[in-house]
Symmetry: C2
Subunit: 241 residues, 2 copies
DNA sequence: CGCCCGTTTGAAATAATTCAACACCGGTGG
DNA sequence: CCACCGGTGTTGAATTATTTCAAACGGGCG
C-alpha cells in the first residue's frame, strides 16, 4: 500500500517536522490511483476540490495560447503537490497532465486547509514550497526570455538532474521522460529546433543519449554551457531559515 | 507621515482582516525612505534582513544571464511587498530596483515572521499573495515563450492597466513608466524590436501615446490582440475562497 | 507485417537581432 | 540664453536564430 510519505519527505526537505505535524500529514485522508501518460489532473477554469500529489511518475503544467500554442510552465517530480494554488484560489489558471504513467494521491482541499490552520510547521513548509516554486518560475522566465536554444536546453537538463537527484529519484544518468515536442513546449521552442539543439549538445560531448536515457559525462561542463547555478532551487537546507 | 496602509490594502484585497490583524499590520515596526529611479532594493546572493514594501512608485525584479543579458521577472506597484521570499529563504535569487522615484518602507523580517505565526488571517493573505504571484509568473512564462512580439506587448499593457486600476493607481490612460529597453527586458525582446512593436500597435489604433503616457481607446480590442484574460491575476475577490 | 508516434534532416520563409546612424528632448553648465 | 550632452526613441539595412513545411526514417506494438 502506498502512503503520503513522498509528500512528507518533500515538505521536510528544508527542516524536519515535529512528531505531531509528521503524523498529521501522514494521517491526511486520501485516495490513490494509477493514471496513464497525458491524463489530465487539473483543467484551467475549473474549481479545485482536491489537492493532487504525485507519489510516483512525472507531471507537468501548461497553458494554451490563442494561436493554439502550448507552453509548459512547470515540471513535477514524485512527492510534489501540483495544485497548492487550489488552497485559496477557486479557479485554476492552468492545466496539468501526467507526463508518464504515474501514481497520484488526491487529498480533500478542506483537510489541507484545516492542517494549515492547525499545524504551524506544516503551514511554514507549504509557504516555503510556494516561495521556491516562485523562484523556479523566475528562472524559467529568465531562461526562456534571455538565453539561446542550446543554453536553454542545457539549463533545463541541469535543473532536471539536480531536482531529481536531490529527491533521490535519479543520478547523473537519468531518464528525461519527455518527447522533443514537450521539451520544446517547456522551452518556448519548436520540436524541430529542440532536435537540432540536442544534437548540437551531443556533438560537443556535453550529453550522450540512448533513446530518452540521458547521460551527462561532465555535469560541471553542462552547467557552464547552461549558465546554470542551483541557487534558485533553494535545495540546500542551509539556505532556509 | 506615511504608514503601511498601502500594504494592508493590498493584503486585504481578497478579504477584509479582523481588527486584530489589521492593527497588527499597521503596528509593524518600519522605516521609510525616498529612493531615486534605479536604486537597488535587493541584490542577488545577499541575505534579506528586511522586508521592503513599495508605498508609492514602481519597482521591478530582474536576473542577469551569462552573456550579460537582463531579464525583468516582475513589476511591482504600490502596496506590494517585493521580497516575501526572504521570509524563509536566506539567499536572494534575483535583484530588485526602483523603476521610478519611489517611497519604500522596510520592515524587519523577524517582525513579519512573528506576525505570520500569530495572526492566521495575515498568514493566509501572505500565502495567497504568493499563490497569485506564482500564477502571474506562469503567465509571464507563457507570454514570453509562446506569443509573438506584438501580442506580448499588448498583453503586458493589459496586465499593467488591469493591476494598476485594481489598486486604484490608474485608469485607462496611464503612464507605463518604463523605457523601451526595460520593456524589452521584461518581454525577452530587444529595445529596437519593442519600438517597432509599439508603432505597429499604434498604427493599428490599439494604443495612442504621448511620450510615456499610454492611452487605450478600446481595452476590449487590446485584450483581444494581447490574448489577455485577467483570470490569472485572481483579482476578483469572488475567486478567493 | 504494417502502422503510428516520435525523431531526424533539408530547404525556404520569417521573426527578431544587430549594427549603425540620426532625431529628439530635458537638463546642465558656460 | 544658448550650446552641448547623455539618455531615449526612431529608422533602415544586413545578419542570424528560429520556425515552417515537407519528407523520410526508425522502432515498438498490436
Amino acid at each position: 500500500m502506498s502512503d503520503l510519505s513522498p509528500l512528507l519527505r518533500k515538505l521536510e526537505a528544508h527542516g524536519k517536522f515535529p512528531k505531531e505535524d509528521r503524523e498529521a500529514v501522514l494521517g491526511l485522508p486520501f485516495t490513490t490511483r494509477e493514471v496513464a501518460p497525458a491524463t489530465y489532473l487539473i483543467r484551467e477554469g475549473e474549481p479545485p476540490r482536491v489537492c493532487t500529489v504525485l507519489l510516483s511518475g512525472y507531471a507537468f503544467r501548461h497553458k494554451i495560447v490563442a494561436n493554439g500554442g502550448r507552453q509548459i510552465v512547470s515540471l513535477h517530480i514524485p512527492g510534489e503537490a501540483i495544485d497548492f494554488e487550489g488552497i485559496y484560489l477557486n479557479c485554476s489558471d492552468h492545466n496539468a497532465q501526467a507526463l508518464t504513467r504515474a501514481e497520484v494521491a488526491t487529498i480533500p482541499m478542506a483537510a489541507i486547509r484545516r492542517l494549515l490552520a492547525e499545524r504551524p510547521t506544516f503551514a511554514r513548509a507549504v509557504l516555503l514550497d510556494m516561495l521556491v516554486e516562485a523562484s523556479v518560475l523566475r528562472e524559467w522566465v529568465t531562461n526562456i526570455g534571455r538565453r539561446d536554444s542550446k543554453t536553454r536546453l542545457a539549463h533545463l537538463s541541469c535543473e532536471f538532474a539536480t531536482r531529481t537527484s536531490a529527491q533521490g529519484v535519479a543520478g547523473c544518468t537519468y531518464e528525461l521522460p519527455m518527447t522533443q515536442e514537450q521539451i520544446g513546449d517547456a522551452l518556448g521552442l519548436t520540436s524541430v529546433h529542440v532536435n537540432r539543439s540536442i544534437r548540437a549538445l551531443e556533438s560537443e560531448g556535453l550529453i550522450t543519449r540512448n533513446k530518452r536515457l540521458l547521460n551527462v559525462p561532465d555535469l560541471a561542463r553542462l552547467r557552464e554551457a547552461g549558465d546554470f547555478s542551483d541557487l534558485y532551487l533553494h535545495a540546500d537546507p542551509q539556505h532556509a531559515v
